[in-house]
């Protein structure tokens, strides 16, 4: 269960999160979508405790986030870019993370087998391909069997076979009642994996609800088309401001040219 109230965050002059409110029940699979720079990563990083909010409150499983770290026992995170110390070997990395978390890595073997990592365990991490590094990231996220899982662009570097295996695994986690978040630009992937969608634009949540409602409302039959429509729709608030600023900047550009 994740509860976010009036969450705001700025980096310098740039307001990245402009007062988000959202409640996500346990066991829900949610896709987070939006254009680049909309605030998706910042939102996830705030929940993970990497970014500290300027104002607003966050609760994860009833714990209010306030410099506390124990709540992260329930969270697994697979980052978008997986880079590890070059000289470390794969099994050493797994042991390192196991030593940091005082929890049993119940799914370690299962995940290693599932992702075919057995032959990679002895290799230094710098020699691994991008896809294998992604798979290690997925293993690290899921091996402690946490309740809440975050996947940031999980299949971007995976070959079709690994990507398929990854999706099967996520579906299994979902059936076990895990709360799952996935950010992705591949809408067909989200259609397979999640049933709820959060659409973020300019630091605001534009849409939060089930995917079927979104499709029905936009009268589209694919998520990609529905999201594209949401982005194009001239709406109140920030959308119109953006248009205005575009208009005011364009004559200037012409003068410069």
């Amino acid at each position: 269960m994740i509860e976010i109230k009036d969450l705001k965050k700025s980096f310098g002059d740039l307001q990245v999160l402009k007062g988000m409110n959202i409640a996500i029940p346990k066991g829900q699979a949610t896709g987070i979508v939006g254009p680049n720079g909309a605030g998706k990563t910042t939102l996830i990083k705030t929940i993970l405790g990497l970014v500290k909010p300027d104002s607003g409150t966050l609760h994860v499983n009833g714990t209010r986030l306030n410099g506390d770290w124990l709540y992260r026992r329930d969270i697994g995170y697979m980052p978008q870019v997986a880079r590890y110390p070059e000289n470390m070997r794969v099994y050493e990395l797994l042991n390192f993370i196991k030593g940091l978390r005082d929890q049993e890595a119940v799914y370690e073997q299962e995940l290693i087998e599932q992702f075919n990592l057995q032959s990679e365990l002895e290799k230094p991490l710098r020699t691994l391909s991008g896809g294998n590094r992604q798979k290690i990231g997925a293993t690290l996220a899921m091996m402690f069997n946490p309740d809440i899982l975050f996947f940031d662009e999980p299949t971007a570097g995976l070959d079709p076979r690994s990507s398929h295996k990854f999706k099967l695994r996520v579906k299994k986690e979902r059936e076990e009642g895990k709360t799952i978040f996935i950010t992705s630009h591949i809408m067909s992937e989200l259609e397979q994996l999640v049933d709820h969608v959060i659409f973020i634009l300019d630091g605001n949540i534009r849409y939060y609800g089930t995917m079927s409602d979104l499709l029905e409302h936009s009268q589209e039959d694919r998520l990609e088309a529905a999201i594209a429509r949401l982005m194009d729709e001239p709406m109140y608030g920030t959308g119109s401001e953006l248009k205005q600023s575009e208009e005011t900047t364009s004559p200037l550009k012409m003068e410069l040219a």
Partner: protein, 263 residues
Amino acid sequence: MKLLTHIIKTEWKSLLRGKWVIGYTLIFLLLTDSLLRFGGGGPETLLSLSNVMLLFIPLVGMIYGILYIYQSREFVELLLTQPIDRKVLYWGLFLGISTPLMAAFIIGSLLPLAWHGILVLDSSSSALVLGLGGMLTLIFVSLGFVFGLMFYDDRIKGFGFTIVIWLFLAILYDGIVLLLVFVFGDYPLEQFVIAASALNPIDLARILVMLEFDISALMGYTGAVFNRFFGQSTGLITASGMLVLWLITPTWLGLRIFKKKDF
């Protein structure tokens, strides 16, 4: 505590495998050995060694610290999403990477000193030089950490800042102090000079070396004032205390930034 040693041990292992810490040890080994062979041994050799150390350890330490922050960015972010305290992670990373560098200098210089017999002959001076090198390593790695965290997204700025700070502290500082003393020579300047040398850890280390070897001619202006103002033993204690302050301040500052930072 268990967590801290776990992080430190892992860092050690991965650093030892990257061969360049061993290379760094070998450089000091060769340097000290050749200084001893050609310099004839004795206090002059230790002085030459400390001159090299005062120049290079700060540069290597800072570059090493800032490079670590930049290179392991994604990894540190992944570690921060684990259920551990940021404070423990900070100390683990800092001690995990600074202590091997410190050990590399100490072991690399210690071995030739031992087999040439200087260690027994001039044990207190040797211990002082080695200890100062270790201390400077810790101070400047932590400064590198601070700059890396401050200029987290702007590497060029971070590296530039590091080089400028090094140039300023290691090379320009004594000259600037001397110039000020020359210009304001009509005023009593002792306290100013002492304050000025306390603001530069490299200067403090240099003063300590000079006080230990009692070579007033080589002491530089700040060293001479220090000697006259405090005398040898009080001077040694005061300068050491200030150096300890220099270790505490940047490590604490780094911790503060690390705890508050948005990654």
